[in-house]
Symmetry: D2
Subunit: 339 residues, 4 copies
């Protein structure tokens, strides 16, 4: 019942800490016969890897995936797939400076509160590196979804106060970059909003009354470390709308508008699914902050090292991966219900 | 795997449609020995009942709860509790007018897409009446939480464009009411935002990496029919904040601020939990709307009958109930982990 | 996590005690569109009802089933089905004599050990009456299985020391009856063995490595109150066999023998499934026995009332129901895996 | 929903095939703070390893366990533990002879029926080597149980027609060995019965009505490849007993007899738990057998290589491991229920 499993019919169990032996995932329920290569999983992992742009950390992680079970002669055999990424050796002594301090914004305090002890090397289990397992599993779900005609695309929609006009707004991006670069120089960070769009999904997915499609998407997104909010379709804008404005009318061509964001009553309508998540500013900043140590004594803290001044670009492939995990699971659930 | 179960160690299965024989819930995992009466459950159900204020529907529902198992001599015996509310007889013929039409904003179209057929009397399983079972179960969870020192309070925070300054802002409420009453007269409706605050929760609840406390709260809230968004703590505001502003520093008295909203890394900090949900305007309005019927032909539609012009006041006890279900489940999970 | 749920994709939650308000079941995952009537469920319930033969109790129970949700215009709608059987009023005072005594063979002592209190009217939750919910759900699973060509048949194979030569051995039955009738007169009871045969099942059902088909069947059977053993195919006979005898060879017509009992490696072979369960003698006997009361004092006890001298005939429909629940669930799981 | 997970609060996911990259397990729910070393897990794994006695195969497997996550500075951190055992390289060409043939008694035919393809190197996922992950996880559960005062011991109780008089009957063992050695020389194998005894368990464990303790033990045991039967306490002997003989009376010292085998109504009584499993003769024998190939053509088959002529001694540590997994899970469930 500890919470490292996700999904039901396409189901994953992740494991690993940022500086333990390895991170990875066991994936159960992959359709037997599916062709899978390490290379196509690596493509998705590389999108999450640090050092992909000037607004993410140039830190190097050994993000090479190995498939150690469940794939034979290039095909899924229908039994659990182990995807593993080994960590580089980490010396515990490198963390002596912060091992007893609670870094603001990080889960140091809460892990101690919950478990009574914690792996203080990096962020341990709470590290973003844990999401590598999710991305590896998501790459397989994505492939199955492509076979069903479904496409999942996320992108930074707002960051550093700059908002995109459309999905891939290069002009907006060009405005964001120098602001974020300056924040990095200042030892600070900034938040943003990531939007995700899903096309090609058939109507009928989602399991009322608790496992509604938007409920499972919300859970998937809110399970990501930096996410403080989730909204679908009209989202928080709906609060000020009238029913006569918000209701999506239908004509013989289908839905006339999509305030619903592609889901009504917990079930996909067949229209595009559109949701957004609020991403908090990176907690690790090099500016000095106030905190306490494990003994309750006040102490200043500085998080040295290279960190992402804005986490949005690196969370994008994770958002896509989680969305794929949710959708593939619901495809199988709908097929099972009708069976 | 159909989605009518919620929770793990404090676990519910709801059943029932708005105009079938009954709605209700089976509750499993209630601590044996807990004193339970039908009366104290009824108190919570009555808060959800229609006709409680001028901005909700005056429709009368027979919301009397019966406990038919799991309680003996006034105490939970530790086996499943059946809480049932019988429906009044409904004549199918009363729904002849809309049985083949897809009401805008309602799940009529998606239920047909998913199941191939639907109970067209009222909203069937998609009716808000289904939440009676949730509220009944939540009343028991609430009682267990009170014994743990936890208090859960929700309230309408914004509606009809008017925002409260504080939790119980009578001045704001006084401004909202006439606007909503006028919308009702116009045959229209309006959305809002409900905020929920949880006090007395100990640090350490939540199960990373998927069953983070905010992830389970988000799922619980997004499983409610009218909810289009969820945010915790700073929520969507975090997008424009810097790390140096957003990180909550600590001093010897604990956290200095609470942008986190009481949860960091998926685990409760011991601070107040604060989250908000976006509630869409009621879909049922008496204004004429455009839609199609089951044969795909265009047709106007009017939803006659008395409906809530703003659903916020009635969703408040459901929000509290769902929050209680999540929290009690996580209390048991944390105790089991440490055992 | 309390154990009143069974199954995954065809999933049930039972509730109810022998003398509470009702017993029954919530069934989730029923294929939408399936035609269901209360009458066809009642047929199965009537097979389990007391008073069907001279070797079972003539006690009368009000075993009339009501479907209060999930069925509309005679068809399953795909949402949870509530099947409920109301209990007759029971006066607690009728149980004053045994309320504090632990009846030998019954779960009185262990329920107190686990829950700290118990519903002492009859056997409470541990009553065989709880299985009515299972039989009701099993009747629906049975119907779905019939549509897949699967037939499940159980029968008393041995009782009172008499063993059948074949499935419906009237000669053996004729020998059993007078022995069991005499035991009833003596205030005693006797055990037996029930065999179950499943035909028409396709090869490929079962989910290694833990949810093997025989593992789920064993769990289903061992979850019945009086069952002390389960064996499949060769069963305990295999202990003295050689590999060259036990292995089932194949020729172009398929398997030449069926020591496996229709399952190899946890997956159905397509051959007939054959399993047997050991049923202990009914615990309720009118002979005086030694026991203690809740204060730990020694006391004699007599279980007055009409009881089954041999439980086998009444367990037969329950065995079939549980087997149907397991099989229908695995059909859906196999379809989902391949999807 | 594919079946590679076991347990709820102490929960495992196994992965791996006999000749893939690795076998192992992810263990979730381990009490944080528990001291764990690779060495103490290795001790249990070495008991399962081939080559431990003259009646098991002298084949060498690289059974060295590595803990790659969830353990830090010698203690469980409360997050998932990955225990992995790498396989030695296997050349696919070594299996050319049998890759298209269905070995009698093996899951070759059923894996093809279920998945449409299979890893034909050794027995793939159906190999006994998969149980290494179970034994590794069981070693941790065993340690937690020892802290609770619980001891689990299994042993071969009958093999080759020789039955033990007591738990560690050296005289019986001395009689078995030469018979089994001769069977190995003859290219044949033999079955047996393994008994397991559990002492020190408190009363109150088990979750009626489906997750009864004996039901979960039965499932755990029947999920082992070679097991054809399970019985507890009186087991199949109960079929010929009278109620007056079988019911365990109580006096002021507790239960006078233990026909129940330590569980009544699905809940532990506090008495010793005693169960037995029927183990079929090893399927791999070097004697020539009749089978068909994947094209349906008849063909003789010989399973060359060194195999266990009797699997009982090697299944003993796996039986103990599975029993430990069930018990530790139920301890946590009982604590959660009462919480």
């Amino acid at each position: 019942m500890a919470g490292s499993n996700f999904g039901h019919l396409f189901r994953i169990s992740t494991f690993g800490e940022s500086h333990g032996g390895a991170v990875g995932v066991v994936i159960d329920g992959v359709t037997p016969g599916l062709e899978i290569t390490e290379e196509e999983i690596q493509v998705q992992l590389d999108r999450r890897k640090p050092g992909q742009s000037s607004v993410t950390t140039p830190r190097q992680e050994p993000d090479t995936v190995h498939l150690l079970s469940g794939v034979f002669e290039g095909k899924a055999t229908g039994v659990p797939i182990l995807a593993i990424l080994y960590n580089k050796d980490a010396q515990s002594s490198a963390y002596d400076d912060i091992k007893d301090k609670f870094r603001p914004g990080h889960a140091d305090f809460t892990y101690i509160a919950k478990y009574g002890l914690r792996d203080y090397r990096g962020s341990g289990r709470a590290s973003g590196r844990e999401t590598a397992g999710r991305v590896a599993a998501g790459a397989i779900a994505r492939k199955l979804l492509l076979g069903r005609g479904v496409k999942v695309t996320a992108y930074t929609w707002r960051a550093a106060g700059i908002q995109c006009d459309r999905a891939c707004d290069l002009k907006a991006a060009a405005l964001m970059v120098p602001i974020i670069e300056q924040l990095a120089v200042d030892g600070d960070s900034v938040g943003g909003i990531v939007e995700c769009r899903i096309t090609g999904l058939e109507a009928g997915l989602g399991e009322p009354v608790f496992d509604k499609l938007e409920a499972d998407l919300a859970k998937a997104m809110m399970s990501l470390g930096a996410v403080k909010g989730f909204e679908i379709g009209s989202g928080f804008q709906c609060a000020d709308m009238k029913g006569s404005e918000h209701n999506d009318p239908m004509d013989k061509n289908g839905f006339v508008s999509n305030h619903a964001g592609g889901i009504i009553g917990g079930i996909s309508t067949g229209e595009e699914i559109v949701f957004r998540i609020a991403v908090k500013p990176t907690s690790s900043i090099s500016k000095e902050q106030r905190t306490i140590n494990i003994q309750g004594q006040e102490t200043p803290i500085q998080t040295i090292g290279r960190h992402d001044p804005c986490i949005c670009p690196r969370i994008v492939p994770v958002v896509e991966a989680m969305a794929c995990l949710v959708l593939e699971d619901h495809y199988k659930r709908q097929i099972a219900l009708k069976a």
